[in-house]
């Protein structure tokens, strides 16, 4: 899921400036803005059927945080 998520992230936010890793703080990306935030939430909903509320999302800063949040919601559903 890791590589796939990073690919999706790059595509949605149109990241060209840097390579993304689990440790990347996405909020510091040159391409990051509020539309990017909404797009990531929508992408996570579409691809993983997971709804992140704005209040949860604001506590996540790295790509790894996002993957963990998705995973724990998927596990919670199972």
């Amino acid at each position: 899921m890791k590589e796939q998520f990073i690919e999706k992230f790059k595509e949605v936010v149109e990241v060209e400036s840097v390579e993304l890793t689990l440790e990347t703080n996405f909020r510091e990306l040159e391409e990051w803005d509020s539309l990017a935030g909404l797009s990531i939430i929508a992408m996570i909903d579409e691809e993983y059927d997971v709804v992140l509320e704005g209040s949860e999302f604001k506590n996540q800063n790295t790509i790894g945080d996002l993957i963990n949040a998705i995973q724990s919601k998927i596990d919670g559903k199972a």
Partner: protein
Amino acid sequence: MTNGIFGLHGKKVLITGASSGLGKAIAIECAKQGAEVILVGRDIDRLNATLSLCEGSNNWTIQQDLTDLNGLSQFVQNLPMLDGAVFCAGIIKRNPIKFINPSTLQNIFDINVFSIVELTRLLVKLKKINNDASLVMISSVGSDHASLGNISYMASKGAINSFIRGLAFELAKNQVRVNAVLPGMIKTNLTKGISDEDLKFEIERYPLGRFGQPEEVAYACIYLLSDASKWVTGTKLVIDGGLTLR
């Protein structure tokens, strides 16, 4: 209680979305003005919680998913004659254009548009609306006032803004009035997805310096349901603390 010109004594009013947020406040306040309210939503426990806060003994609840269009006919057949209805059930989903597809759009339109049109059709067809009745649709200033990611919601409320105009024209011959209320931001279950940070930023845009209270939307509905607005039809009443002044 005296029944002044804004009073709703003797009026039977259907209220959808009465299990939460604005619809709940509308139910409670209408009952305070003497209306007999019929509360509709999917969550029966929350509907009953609203019911317990409504004055009067002729109020009741109906559990109904309004997007179940096939079930609506039976639902309407079981209703008494109505003097008013407030269509408040609705949802929001923030999707940038790249993530809007027929299925996400359908989800929003199912409740925000299709359920309203179908419910209205059945109410008219099965003659459940008294002459002189008043129909109120809860639209939003968001129909015309962009906020990021809200495109499908905006479009659904825009559809309702136009719907009330056509319907008001068609139902005028029966003295039935149709109006919309367009609220700005009011903290409810609907807005819980918005982060505190965004809310702080958002509140700056309100000239009156705060978000609205659910009751403030209810008072607008009371006016539109009451005889005080007998010559008002097809209007879009904005209740937004001045948000759209600029």
